[in-house]
Every structure is written in structure tokens, then in C-alpha cells.
């Protein structure tokens, strides 16, 4: 099996189990508060790591390239409360423009 299929199948089965766990197993019960607090904080912690990873890493190296200009443009778009799709398009356009200018 190729790596791509391995990832697709394991992520799919894992996600199906995660999404179904509450409705199928827990029913009306709730998570212990501390467990719930940790699980809730996973999303902000990981999303911040993904922002860092996707903007300044290239393999195992830290690099500053045109992606940072795109991220800066995204911050401005978010600050003026642009819709999420506009934010992403602005970031891509700013990065493409920076590369065209040889930055």
C-alpha cells in the first residue's frame, strides 16, 4: 500500500471513531471537566503550530520567504474582518505577487 492510501485510510477510520465516540458511547454523559479542557485546547495549540509550520518551515529548516508576506496580508484581511475565503485568496495573491517581483 502506498503512503498516501495508508494515511487516507487510517485518518478516515480514526476520524470516524472520534466523531462517533460521543454520540455512540457516551450518550447523555459528559467528559470529566479536566479531560474536556485539555481536549478543547488541542485545536488552538495545533492550529498555532500549523501556522508557524506552514509559514516559516521548509523541511527541517526555518526560512523567511514570500509566504511571510502572504501571512502579513492575511493578518490585515482578518483585522478588517474579511470572510475566510477572501483571507486565503489575499494571502495567495500577495505571495504570488512577491514572487513575481523576485522577493
Amino acid at each position: 500500500m502506498s503512503d498516501a492510501w495508508l494515511i487516507v485510510i487510517v485518518v478516515a477510520l480514526g476520524t470516524i471513531a472520534i466523531k462517533a465516540s460521543g454520540p455512540v458511547l457516551l450518550g447523555r454523559r459528559t467528559l470529566p471537566p479536566r479531560v474536556g479542557a485539555v481536549v478543547t485546547l488541542l485545536a488552538p495549540a495545533l492550529l498555532a503550530a500549523l501556522v508557524v509550520n506552514a509559514s516559516v518551515s521548509s523541511g527541517s529548516q526555518l526560512v523567511a520567504d514570500a509566504r511571510l508576506i502572504g501571512l502579513g496580508a492575511a493578518v490585515i484581511a482578518l483585522a478588517v474582518r474579511a470572510p475566510i475565503l477572501v483571507v486565503v485568496l489575499v494571502a495567495a495573491a500577495a505571495t504570488a505577487l512577491a514572487r513575481l517581483l523576485g522577493l
Binding site: T15, I18, S21, P23, L46, A48, L50, V51, A91
Partner: protein
């Protein structure tokens, strides 16, 4: 099976169909956005180092969680190991444990039906179904979830088919779409002080580890930042 007989026939349409349609129509504007993200996921999947056309479509249909799919794709694109891509995606999806618990008692049917319906829960359908005070409308959630699922899968198919025609994704700045998307998804998560602390810590861990570990590992390690939740009273 037996759950249909529990409701009087005459009441069934007004009890279930209307909230289902309300959920579906409320989700339509979001479906346009979700569909376009599906297109970008499809485009990235068929670009160099992506997961490929058919796996991408199967992933969108079965996983139905955009941020996790993009996370797995970005780890693969960076040359990370499969285990790192899997761990990053599943840790990101761990938020569906408490989200699933919150809607559990509003979903109809037996275990198998609930297992299937639970797959329609994503951030957007969950938000549409929220009535406040911890109450949710199960039918509205299902209506929104179905519309968003169709948009996500159709968008992925369109992106896969059109992606090869688009050419080099870096020339179009599509690699910068990743951090912008993750940032846009992060902002609404920052509703509490502990969420902000977890985000700052998670970002710092990823930054500090990148030069010293294989790709993907810094993202998984950043999950440790969520442990500050243990200190909360």
C-alpha cells in the same frame, strides 16, 4: 428501526422536516465557501508531493474535516513521515470528541444510525445547530451537515479534475494559503485566556523544534501545550 413508530405519523413532517430544511438552507452560503476549500484541497492533492487524485476524493468523503485534511497534506508536502501526518490530523480532530459529546443526546436512532449521523458534525454544522444554553437541534445539524458534505466532496472532485490545468501551485502563492487558512481557523478558537496561552505555547514549541526534528514532529509536540488545561479549575 423501531424509532419511526414512536412518533405519530401526522406530526413527523413538522417535527423533523422543517428543522432539517432550515439547517440545509442556513448552510448554503457556507457551502459555497466549503466547496471552494474542497477545490483547493483537490488542487493541492494533485500537485507535486500531494496525496493524489483518488485518495483525495476518498479522504474528503470519509474524513470530512477540512483542517485535518489540510494538516495531513501540509505534513506530506513538507516531506514528513506518514505517522506524523496521521498523528497531526487525528490530534486536530480530537476536538470532535467534546463536540460530539455536546450533540450526543440530540441525535436520533440506535448506535449504527448515530455513528453515521455523527460523521455530519463539523465546526460549521455544529454552529448552525446550536440553540444556546448547551441545547442543539439534531435535525438542523443533519440538514446542514448533508449540504456541507456534498459541497466538500464535489469541490474536491472539481479541484482534482481542474488542478492539473492550473500549473505550479507555488507560482500562484497557494503554499501561503495554508498558514492563512490555519490562522483564520485559529482566531475564532481564541475565546478564552487559556486558549490564547495554548496557542502561543503551541506556536513556540513548533518554532523551537523545527530545526531539530523530522517534519511533522513539531506539530505533534505542540499538542503538549493543551496540557495547560489541567491547571484550570
Amino acid at each position: 428501526m423501531g424509532d419511526h413508530a414512536a412518533q405519530p405519523m401526522s406530526d413527523t413532517p413538522s417535527l423533523s422536516t422543517l428543522p432539517f430544511r432550515t439547517g440545509a438552507t442556513t448552510a448554503l452560503p457556507l457551502a459555497a465557501v466549503v466547496g471552494l476549500f474542497g477545490v483547493s484541497f483537490g488542487v493541492l492533492a494533485v500537485s507535486g508531493g500531494g496525496v493524489g487524485a483518488v485518495p483525495a476524493i476518498v479522504m474528503s468523503a470519509s474524513t470530512f474535516a477540512g483542517s485535518a485534511q489540510f494538516a495531513a497534506a501540509s505534513v506530506i508536502a513538507a516531506g514528513g513521515q506518514p505517522i506524523a501526518a496521521i498523528a497531526a490530523a487525528l490530534l486536530l480532530n480530537a476536538r470532535y470528541i467534546p463536540i460530539g459529546v455536546s450533540v450526543a443526546r440530540f441525535l436520533p436512532g440506535g448506535p449504527l444510525r448515530r455513528l453515521v449521523l455523527a460523521q455530519l458534525v463539523i465546526d460549521e454544522s455544529w454552529a448552525i445547530a446550536a440553540k444556546g444554553e448547551g441545547e442543539f437541534d439534531g435535525q438542523r445539524l443533519i440538514g446542514a451537515g448533508v449540504v456541507l458534505w456534498v459541497a466538500w466532496v464535489a469541490g474536491t472532485v472539481a479541484g482534482v479534475l481542474g488542478g492539473e490545468a492550473l500549473g505550479d501551485p507555488t507560482a500562484l502563492g497557494l503554499d501561503a494559503a495554508f498558514p492563512a487558512l490555519f490562522l483564520a481557523l485559529l482566531i475564532p478558537q481564541l475565546r478564552s485566556r487559556s486558549a490564547v496561552v495554548a496557542a502561543v505555547l503551541g506556536g513556540a514549541i513548533a518554532l523551537a523544534l523545527t530545526p531539530f526534528t523530522p517534519p511533522g514532529v513539531p506539530i505533534i509536540a505542540a499538542a503538549a501545550a493543551a496540557l495547560i488545561g489541567l491547571t484550570r479549575r
